[in-house]
Amino acid sequence: MKIIAVSNLYPPDGLGGYEMGCRQIVTALHEAGHEVTVLTAAPRKPIHADERHLLRTLRLADPYAPSARNGGHPQGRAHQLALAGCCDAYNVHRFVAELERLQPDLVYFWNLWGLGGISLIAATQLLGLPWRMHIMDAVPSQLCNLTGSVRPELGRAFARLIRGRFFCCSRTVIDEIKSNGVPIGPSCDIVPNWVTTDGAPARSDWLIDCKLRIAFAGAVSLHKGADIVIEAAAQLKRDGFTRFQVDLFGPVVDPRFQAMINASRLQEHVTLQGSKPQQELWKMYEQYDLFAFPTLPREPFAFAPLEAAAHGCVPVIPHICGNAEWMLDGVDLFKTERTADGYARLFRRVIQGEIDLAKVGRQAVRQLLRDFHLKTIFPKIEAGLKQATAERRPAHASTHDIYRLALLAERSVRDMLQEAA
C-alpha cells in the first residue's frame, strides 16, 4: 500500500504516547513493505536529524500552548481553536499538493488537532480517497470544538458526513467523544495500544532484600497524579514503613512536588529523577516492583503502564481509566481508588506479603508480550488499512476547487466568530 500518514506532531517533537505510537506504526508499515510518507507540522524546536519519509511542511496552530488555553484575547483564542480544529487553508493547500504528487492508496490520520483537521478530512473525502484515523485521544470532539465546547449540530454533522473509520484504543475514549457531542461510535473499531519492547520474560525477582521499589513515569504533574504517589509514600512513612523507594521519572515543571517531598521529609524515600530516554527507562523497570500510575479517569489508554508491565514492573492503576478495560485486577496489574489512601493501602499489602507480587509480575510479562505486543496488534491494523483501500470513490472536486473551498471556509469561520463576539 502507498500511504500518507498525517500527524500534528512527530517524534522527536511530541507530547507523549500518541506521536510515539504513530512512529511505531509507520516503522511497522515500512517493515511490512508498505510505502509510507508522514506529513506533519514544522517542529516546535529545531530537529537535527530526521527520517527520509518525513515532510514537516504543515503549520501547527498549537492548541497545547498555554496561550491557546488561557492567554490572550478570547476572540484570538477562538480563532486559534478554529484554525486548530476546523479549517486551515494553508495546510489544505500543502496537503492536497502532496496527495496529488504521491497518489496514495489511502490517508492514515493520527492526531489532527492543530492542523485544521476537519478541512484535511473533507479534502480527502472530496478527492474520493479512503481514510482511517487512529484515535488515542478525544480528537474528533477537539476538532469540533470552536468555542470551548462542541456545538451539537457540528458534532452531529461531523459524525454524519464522515466516510472513513476510526481505530480507537478504548471504549473509554469513544464514550468521551460521544459525551462531548460527537457520536462516532458506529464508525469505530477498537484496537488496543501496544508495546514494542522485548520485555523481561526471564525476570524472576521481586521485592529484592524485602524492599519495595516503586516507579512513576510521565509528566510529574497533578493530572498524572504525582501528588497522590508522594502522599501515599508519606502515609507509608507515617505508618512506620522504611523499606521502600519511590522514583519519579519525567519532566518536572512544578516545584510543588519537591516541596511536598521536603515537607514530609521523604528525601530518603522519594526522588524526582528527571527525564530518561525511553529505552533506558524500559531497562530500569526491571529494577522496580510496582509502577504507580494514578492517572485521570479520562485517560484513553496509556502506553507507559504497558511498557512497565512487560518488564515485570506491575502497574497500579485507578479502577476507572482506559487501561482498566484491558487489564485484570490482581491478575496482571492492580487497581485501586485514585487517592493517596488507596495507593498507600495497596503498597502496604505488598510490603506485608498479603499479595503474591511475583505471580502477578510473571503473568503481567506473559500477558503483555503475548497479547499486547505490536507483533500481535499490527496485523489487525494492517488488515483495516487494506480494507480501506477498497473504499476509493470518484473525486468530487479538483485540488484547485478544494483549496478555494478551504479559503472560503476559513474566512467564513473567522467572520462568524467575529460576528458572534
Partner: protein, 95 residues
C-alpha cells in the same frame, strides 16, 4: 418578607399585629430553615453515595469488559472452552 413586601422582622415600627406574627412565625421559620438545611445535607450525602455507587458500577463494567476481552483472546488462541456458557448467556459485548 411577606407577600405585601413588608419585612415583619425588620420593620422599623412594627404594629402589634406584626409583633404577634413575628413571635408566632419566627420559631416556625427557624424550624423550616433547619429542615431545609437537613434536606440539603441529605441530598449532598445522597449525591455522594450515588457518585460512589456510579464509580463502583463503572469500575465493575471496565473489569467485566477486560474479562470478556481476555476470554475472547483465550478462545482465539486455544479455541472455545468446552464447558463454557454460550455467548448470549455470558452477556458478551458487541464492539
Amino acid at each position: 418578607m411577606n407577600p405585601s413586601g413588608i419585612n415583619i422582622f425588620e420593620s422599623e415600627r412594627p404594629s402589634l399585629g406584626h409583633r404577634l406574627l413575628r413571635k408566632l412565625l419566627k420559631p416556625l421559620l427557624l424550624r423550616i430553615q433547619a429542615a431545609v438545611d437537613e434536606l440539603a445535607t441529605y441530598q449532598r450525602r445522597q449525591a455522594a453515595e450515588l457518585q460512589e455507587l456510579s464509580d463502583k458500577l463503572q469500575a465493575l463494567k471496565l473489569e467485566h469488559t477486560a474479562a470478556v476481552r481476555r476470554l475472547a483472546r483465550f478462545e482465539e488462541l486455544y479455541g472455545k472452552l468446552p464447558t463454557q456458557a454460550s455467548d448470549s448467556q455470558r452477556g458478551d459485548h458487541a464492539e
